[in-house]
Amino acid sequence: MKMAKPILDVQDIYTYFYTESGVVEALDGVSFDVNQGEPVGIVGESGCGKTVTAKSTLRILDKNGKTVSGKIIYKGIDLLELPDLQMRKIRGKEIAMIFQDPMTSLNPIFKIDDQMTEVIALHRDCSKKEALEYAIEALEQVGIPDPATRINDYPHQFSGGQRQRVFIARALALQPSLLIADEPTTALDVTIQAQILELIKEMQRKHGLAMMLITHNLGVVAETTKRVHIFYGGRVVESGPTEDIFIDPKHPYTRALFDSIPSLEKDKHRLATIPGLVPRLINPPKGCRFHPRCKFATEICMRERPPDVLIDKQKGRRVQCHHFEELDLHVDESTIKERSQIIEEA
């Protein structure tokens, strides 16, 4: 297998927020990469640092937030070192972002026309007229019927799913190389979610985009991505190919997370739960941040931060756990069989 080259290489970043009640250590030494043309999943529960990672990458953090150390290498350039003016050219043109809530991510008082052509004209360096053509073409690609007329409508005239389509069209019209999709389907209904996911997958393949898909929905990750990074408490606890991670998780958190989702395939009466709550990052637990909720935790877990161990170089599997070698978290064969059996029936 030819090793793909990472288009985005995030190296050991620390992002802090300075609030009245203290410093929030939102990202605490996060490293991961996204390869050229590859869909990668960023998974975790709320407050684990998924969105902060995306915002740190684009340098669009809130005023009280700052990435204090680390490197974010995009196509060989460290984005954190870039002057503001050049960073502006990266945003949108090189790295585009789709947000969770299609209701609030478009400006309600401007027509779709104005919102699209302005950015296109600016980033692609063309006339307004050409920009309009590109915009209509992009809308057509994402499946908006009659785009030449609809482009004159306001956002409120579109449904939630269509608004997300418009937003995707706007992002793709700039021909970015990396797409960051932050919970793009969370606000949508299942049938609309299926439409949008299909669209994102199609666009990703067609344009050979690298994609960072941020989500808490394990089903969405399983179906859309090739590789995942599991986040917990501002750290990447585990990374690797999606299939390996789902079948043979190495970190106790990953396994616990999978066990706690009710799935169509499982038919157990009680769900396995993770005791306690997602940690607050103002005064995070010492050592491994998962230790207060981990059933395998020992004394060392409370004291020392687990090292980032590369288990399988070829697959790029990494895990941050003191005990991963002793633990067998493999999802047993019967569960796997159970899962696939019911699928075949359906």
Partner: protein, 346 residues
């Protein structure tokens, strides 16, 4: 302590109801339309109706969990709100233990019904008054339903129910903002269960929560159901949650019930094309499953002007001419399996 409860249960109005044969809640051709009015300077006139619930037939048996599933805007919540007498129906009737809850009745009789019918709301952030302590929030149902109970007894009952939902005594003196989402949902559940109802309507009780916390709440609801012999109507849009909790499932679309059957039956022998598409749209948390899914085109039509005939026909892959003309009735295809479709899959 038991005496206070018993005194109120003595109201004899449900004598004709036989728990073995009759459903505890029965909705018959229930309709709830919301008028849209146009305002001129002096007058307002009704220009259209939002047909949120448009002819729902549904029943709940004692001790079971009925899952009500559907996309946003299909009328799930409105159905529940009418069923607990928070809204008046436009047409149709709601029978609780054989009594029409909208017939004229005395205040005592009304309270006796409401005492047994409680609701848990979706958003734990907006359903609790931020200015009141947990003690006061949970005491409120006692103030309404048991006005002559002593303060000490109310207080001890509050502490008792707090313990049941997994909170501590000292939590009683805190305000809602001091709790996490999962804990707030526990408070909402405690509030509904404080006065020992028989039926609890749960309106998306876990959809605002993280997966690991969601599992805790689902387990708690299950334990409470066993302990208090509760009947649940569980509203959700997440089919995997519905499958996990329900004994029977009803699928709703645009104000109508499309299919209703025992849970296992619905997932094995899905009959309605809408249920088939809905099941197929769920992303599966197993990366090895590759399947062709049915992707529905377009959006859910507006309930102001629902399509004629079967409301699903414009998006249905099986639709024929008759579907746009004749509304299919909810018919029992097999024992306990009801379907409203001209061309069911079985």
């Amino acid at each position: 302590m038991v005496s206070t409860f018993e005194k109120y249960e003595a109201i004899d109005m449900f004598s004709e109801w036989n728990p073995k044969t009759d459903p505890i809640i029965n909705l018959i051709n229930l309709k709830k339309w919301f008028p849209i009015s146009e305002q001129s300077i002096l007058f307002s006139r009704v220009v259209a109706q939002i047909k949120a619930v448009d002819g729902v037939d549904l029943f709940l048996n004692k001790g079971e969990t009925l899952g009500l599933v559907g996309e946003s805007g299909c009328g799930k919540s409105t159905t529940a709100r009418v069923a607990v007498k928070l809204e008046e129906p436009t047409e149709g009737a709601v029978y609780f233990k054989g009594i029409d809850i909208f017939q004229p009745m005395t205040r005592e009789e009304e309270l006796a019904i409401k005492r047994q019918l409680q609701m848990v709301f979706q958003d734990p952030y907006s359903s609790l008054n931020p200015r009141r302590m947990v003690l006061d929030l949970i005491r409120e149902p006692f103030d309404i339903h048991f006005p002559d109970m002593t303060y000490e007894e109310k207080e001890s009952r509050v502490l008792e129910i707090l313990a049941k939902v997994g909170l501590e005594d000292y939590h009683a003196l805190r305000y809602p903002h001091e709790f996490s989402g999962g804990q707030r949902q526990r408070i909402g559940i405690a509030r509904a269960l404080a006065i020992h109802p028989e039926v609890v309507l749960l309106d998306e009780p876990v959809s605002a929560l993280d997966v690991s916390v969601q599992a805790q709440i689902l387990n708690l609801l299950h334990d409470l159901q066993v302990e208090f012999n509760l009947t649940y109507m569980f509203i959700a849009h997440d089919l995997s949650v519905i499958k996990h909790v329900s004994d029977r499932v009803a699928v709703m679309y645009l104000g109508k019930i499309m299919e209703m059957s025992p849970t296992g039956e619905l997932f094995r022998k899905t009959a309605h094309p809408y249920s088939v598409s809905l099941l197929s749209a769920i992303p599966r948390p197993d990366p090895r499953i590759k399947k062709d899914r049915i992707i529905l085109e377009g959006d859910v039509p507006s309930p102001i002007n629902p399509p004629s005939g079967c409301p699903f026909h414009p998006r249905c892959y099986k639709a024929q001419e008759i579907c746009s003309k004749v509304t299919p009735n909810l018919e029992e295809l097999e024992a306990g399996h009801f379907v409203a479709c001209h061309f069911p899959e079985i």
